[in-house]
Amino acid sequence: MKGGCRGRILRIDLSNGRVWEQLLDEELCRKYIGGSGIGARFLYDMTDGDTNPLGSENPLIFMTGPFAGTPVPTSGRHHITAKSPLTGIYGEGDVGGSWGVGLKACGYDGIIIEGKSQKPVYILVQESGAGILDAGFLWGRDTYQTDEMLKGVHGNKTTVSCIGPAGEKQIKIAAVMHDGSHARAVGRTGLGAVMGSKKLKAVVVSGGSYIPVFQQERLKHSIRKIVPTIVEKTAGMKQFGTAAGTVGAEKIGDFPLKNWSGSVWDRVENISGQRMKDTILTRRYFCTGCVIGCGREVEVKKGPYAMKGAGPEYETLGTLGGLCLVDDLEAIAYGGELCNRYGLDTISAGSAIAFAMELYEKGIIGTGDTDGLQLKWGSAGAMVEMIHQIGRGEGLGRLLGSGVREAARCIGGNAVDYAIHSKGLEFPAHDPRAFNSLALGYATSNRGACHLQGASYFFEKTAVMPELGIPGPKDRFRVEEQGEFQKNCQDLMCLMDSLKLCKFTLYGGLRTTHVREWLEYVVGWDMGLEELMTAGERIFNLKRMYNVKCGITRSDDTIPERMLKQPRTEGGAKGNLPPLDKMLDEYYTARGWDKNGVPLQATVGRLGLAW
């Protein structure tokens, strides 16, 4: 490879302290690109359906993309892959910040961590190599403290990936956090618990080497053509954050309300991006290499929710806010900070709290189960207290921290009717009754309910991709032509997750032509559209094959009854119920899978895969 990729990864076995390097051959990199794709390849080869997600044999795989550390905009992201302890199937997460560039600057494309340490440790990676160091002084610290303490030891130019107390306790909705109080999170699928199971507190990177680019001047020229467009088209995000369209989301019936049982909410403006800008916003945050700047830094100066740091994103506003009917922006900002410090996924935490609130309302649980806490809708105090309980693994929080599926199973009765998830992963803050394609996307996403594994709704709002047959925004309530559309979206998002480019660039006008140019100018790969999309399709199918080995069948490719049979009664999605079965049949055909959702041998062979 002529640039971008370093062609090597770090391998670490915490059981015996062994540290070694593995070369990555170009064929592998070209077929799987980087990030999510290479992570998938290694996870498939190293584990199987019987692997215990919290056992020593589950590897934790950190992987960058081919553009990290180059001038390609938004390319500093990285990916983490492992078998998920929350869902028991494929687990992964994508994150921005600066850690990915830091690792690449040490000379590595990724790190694979196996085994388990006997005592708390952290890993330090530098250009000269890597070492496993004692983390006794960090164990028990929250993620902000951990970041500060490690910078105190190794210098301010280090970047830290770490877990908080939630990950240490192996709470199944624990996140892996980055960049201290900037709080860039790998939130989904409980990968913080995997890290905690290895007694691995942090991975610190400290490097400064130059990342070569094959054709620097041609790359710069290409980037200069697209960046002004990306900046202009995403201006709303820079001004108002990812919450720019929160009020609009409520209007169209997309915003989550009352554990997904609500239809409209006249208080949504209290927690909008506009309100944040007018009250608690102090400045914007840009991930390394980003030109969009959607991140928020906020400060609540006084009161019970005083805090200073990363501000709540749309998802956090949706799940700690609308899902719980909490309209106190300061409380949500504080709750978000607690999740960041404990190292918890705000989506799963908010979902679990809303689930508990509904059970409390219905009398399925009572104050005897909550240590006297009244889990009422709209109670900011109850929301905040539950985050503490979940983060500490105490009281009802101990159960909720196992995820809504497991919590419902333990509670029994009809608690399962109120557990809103797909394949064990709680719903993000977008309603599949507002976008039929999201119903199909949630049902078939390889990590469970995820809006970003397909991001089909991007192309039903404003994004376009003419070369994939999407010349303009599609009707969000359409029933026809969902199968091929979802497949194309998912294959494209597999590419984005493997290239480690921010998906918001798609709103900014990014096309596959830009990606192909950058692969040529950075790495030296001349990839046509077909080869590029085939790589995305290969990666998606590999993850599906992994899930089939974990026991996933068509019966798991679904969404809760509430989404299939209970329409919103008012608002922009009033009356709509997504026809999932019909869309699923069409989707399986488009995918080249059988009627049970198993990739056909012809598909597996065509993609160069094997069971």
Binding site: A249, I252, E315, F477, G572
Partner: protein, 88 residues
Amino acid sequence: MIVRFGSMYSERVGCEEYEPGIEKPARLIEILEELERVFPLLKNGSMEKIGDRYGAHYLCISNGKILRLVDMINNEDMVEIIPPIMGG
């Protein structure tokens, strides 16, 4: 009053700025009705009402604020139409 179209919309309507011909001050919804009448390609044909389209297919900002359909727009204001992106 000037309406400025973000690049996604200017490509669709064929211009970057437009001065609505309606009487000012006017509510945002009245301005949007005028714009969609003059520029039919501005709207997405799948939704019948402006109230459904606003927030789904475009947002309007003015003076650093996201506008609501009921907000009054004065003669000296500039309204910018931007994509309603959010989430992640």
